[in-house]
């Protein structure tokens, strides 16, 4: 009925999504605050390394890393949303709403204030922050054993607000020039992307995604409830723990590079689930590709919409994501 078709279906879904991602990424190279003609950008792309023009510099060391960062961050946050929604069996779960992103940002800022500047070191602190936030919301939300849907989200929102306050507090106290940009941390911005940063982030995210993909089938079983999943041979506790840790790592590394990009983990998982059904073996690759596309497009809007300069990409993601969150909340109440 669908044994061979599963592979076919994954390819059938992933190929067009990959094509759209590629198109979006290439378009992203042509769009920016400095107006460059299409021909100029094209020649800069083709003659990589040969010319040292400003255009070439802009395309290769500013726009390309930025587009790639948007792809990586979008993929990581969307996948994070997908995993949290399956694991907590809550359609509203998402790294930002749960406060995981906020915890990561506080961790990363603490790392910077303690004198760390390399992404590896910061990711470590950020990971610690995300785990602290995760433990905190799970502790608040679990009255006994069962995680109540509303209290989980409420706990996440509170942790998030608390982390936002700590971020401003830390930045206000500090004289460190590295943390100067408050808006970057609170609103999520991709403009500070650098090539090395992007390479390190990719090196971290790719193995994490592979681990998550290998747990696609267990995530399907978890949707049937813990008792049935356990009876189908799944070690529910170990599986949940691995997924929570890997996802938190992925989110915290991303937050180090982008700050708090809200609601990215909500849009693509829900849209793709609506289109493709609930099978995580299809949804995981689709979310990686679709999430990447989504953030590349959001960042492009952030660069193009303002008549002067640009706005943080987080403004766009929140403007799209928050209304969706409200409509999902409304639907789940009925």
């Amino acid at each position: 009925m669908q044994s061979a078709p599963l592979l076919k279906r994954i390819i059938f879904v992933s190929a067009p999504l990959a094509l759209v991602l590629l198109l979006a990424a290439v378009t992203g190279l042509f769009v920016g605050t400095t107006d460059q003609s299409i021909a100029k950008v094209l020649s800069a792309i083709i003659s990589r390394g040969c010319s040292n023009s400003t255009v070439s510099e802009i395309v290769w060391s500013i726009r390309l890393p930025r587009v790639v960062l948007a792809m990586l961050a979008g993929a990581a946050l969307s996948l994070g949303g997908l995993v949290f929604q399956a694991l907590l069996r809550n359609p509203l779960a998402e790294p930002y709403i749960l406060g995981i992103s906020g915890g990561s940002a506080v961790g990363a800022l603490s790392g910077i204030l303690l004198g760390f500047s390399q992404l590896w070191g910061l990711a470590f602190f950020s990971f610690g922050g995300s785990l602290a936030a995760l433990l905190l919301i799970l502790a608040i939300a679990s009255g006994g054993m069962i995680l109540r849907k509303d209290s989980l989200i409420l706990a996440g929102v509170m942790v998030n607000a608390f982390c936002g306050a700590i971020i401003i507090f830390l930045i206000s106290l500090s004289s460190n020039t590295q943390v100067f940009n408050i808006l970057f941390w609170l609103m999520g911005d991709l403009s500070m992307a650098s090539t090395t940063q992007v390479i390190i982030l990719a090196a971290l995210l790719i193995p994490c995604s592979i681990v998550i993909y290998s747990f696609a089938k267990p995530m399907n079983l978890l949707m049937m409830g813990e008792e049935l999943a356990g009876n189908m041979g799944l070690n529910v506790r170990t599986t949940s723990l691995i997924l929570l840790l890997v996802t938190s790592l992925m989110v915290s590394a991303t937050v180090c590079c982008t700050g708090l990009l809200g609601f990215v983990g909500l849009v693509m998982p829900h849209l793709l689930r609506l289109l493709l059904g609930p099978d995580h073996r299809v949804l995981v690759p689709a979310c990686i590709l679709g999430g990447g596309t989504y953030l590349v497009l959001c960042d492009m809007m952030a660069r193009v919409l303002p008549p002067h300069g640009e706005m943080p990409a987080g403004v766009i993601t929140a403007m799209i994501g928050a209304p969706l969150f409200i409509s999902l909340l409304w639907r789940s109440k009925r």
């Binding site: 669908q2 044994s3 409830g225």
Partner: protein, 269 residues
């Protein structure tokens, strides 16, 4: 005959509250075994222990002669399949996808289902009469259909023992009979051991080879319907008056509750 399930001196408590106390019984392979008892008597907890989702605190549980704690999770899943009392109703998986999940203890993490797996899925759906619903979503089925899908999923697991926790609770009388008949067919045709928790005493009397009456976490009586449905046993357990006569269809007792004589179930001495 071998024992499909053997329980020795099992005790479980949640915090300080004892739920099961020194429970001991065994179920033979191929037996239709029904567990009855008033609300809160520990039936669901007992099912959780047998299906492996709760560890025995004291005492031992053996599945086909081996201690349940020595059996790996996936292996246990191939020995005992569960139809839980509360399964999620809001999952958008299709019937075929849900039934197919029953094959997962037989498959590796990344391996794709073989032709044989798909045949077992189709057989299981045909067995519980849901093959016409293969493409319908679980969250759009009626209660009776959903229960048959969940049973097909358990059947698809091809375990020697199937454990059902109140599978007929929210069903009309025709669907109740259908499920009781299905389990009898599964037992007769495939030799599967059926362990079922039920609140319907008359259905239990008609189908069960043996009945276990739990009361306040203890085994009040275990035996055939005639042995368990004695006024001195069943009335104090449930705490109401019951008229016991013969079932006109089969050689088993029939119970009729007497209105207005509820006393509440008392603790066992």
């Amino acid at each position: 005959m071998r024992q499909a399930v053997a329980v020795h001196d099992l005790s479980i408590s949640y915090g300080k509250r004892p739920i099961l106390r020194d429970v001991a019984f065994s179920v033979a392979e191929g037996e239709y075994f029904v567990i009855i008892g008033p609300n809160g008597s520990g039936k669901t907890t007992l099912v959780k222990v047998i299906s492996g989702s709760l560890k025995p605190q004291t005492g031992r549980v053996e599945i086909v002669g081996r201690s349940i704690e020595a059996i790996a999770r996936r292996e246990l899943a191939r020995a005992v399949a569960l139809v839980p009392q509360h399964a999620p109703v809001d999952v958008p998986f299709t019937t075929a996808e849900v039934v197919l999940m029953g094959r997962s203890p037989h498959l590796g993490l990344l391996s794709i289902e073989s032709r044989e797996d798909m045949e077992i899925v189709e057989q299981s759906m045909r067995f519980t009469n849901v093959e016409h619903l293969a493409r319908s979503r679980l969250d759009q089925l009626s209660a009776g259909e959903r229960q048959r899908v969940l049973i097909a999923r358990a059947v698809c697991q091809r375990a020697g023992t199937i454990v059902l926790d109140e599978p007929t609770a929210s069903l009309d009388i025709a669907h109740q009979m259908h499920i009781m008949d299905l389990m009898e067919k599964l037992r007769r045709e495939q030799g599967v051991t059926v362990i079922m928790v039920s609140h319907d005493l008359n259905l239990a009397a008609m189908y069960a080879n043996r009945i276990l009456l739990l009361n306040h976490g203890k085994v009040a009586r275990i035996g055939t319907a005639d042995e368990v449905f004695q006024p001195g046993v069943i009335e104090p357990a449930y705490g109401c008056s019951l008229l016991i006569d013969r079932n006109p269809l089969r050689e088993v007792p029939r119970l009729t509750p007497v209105p207005g004589e509820f006393t509440g179930s008392g603790p066992v001495k």
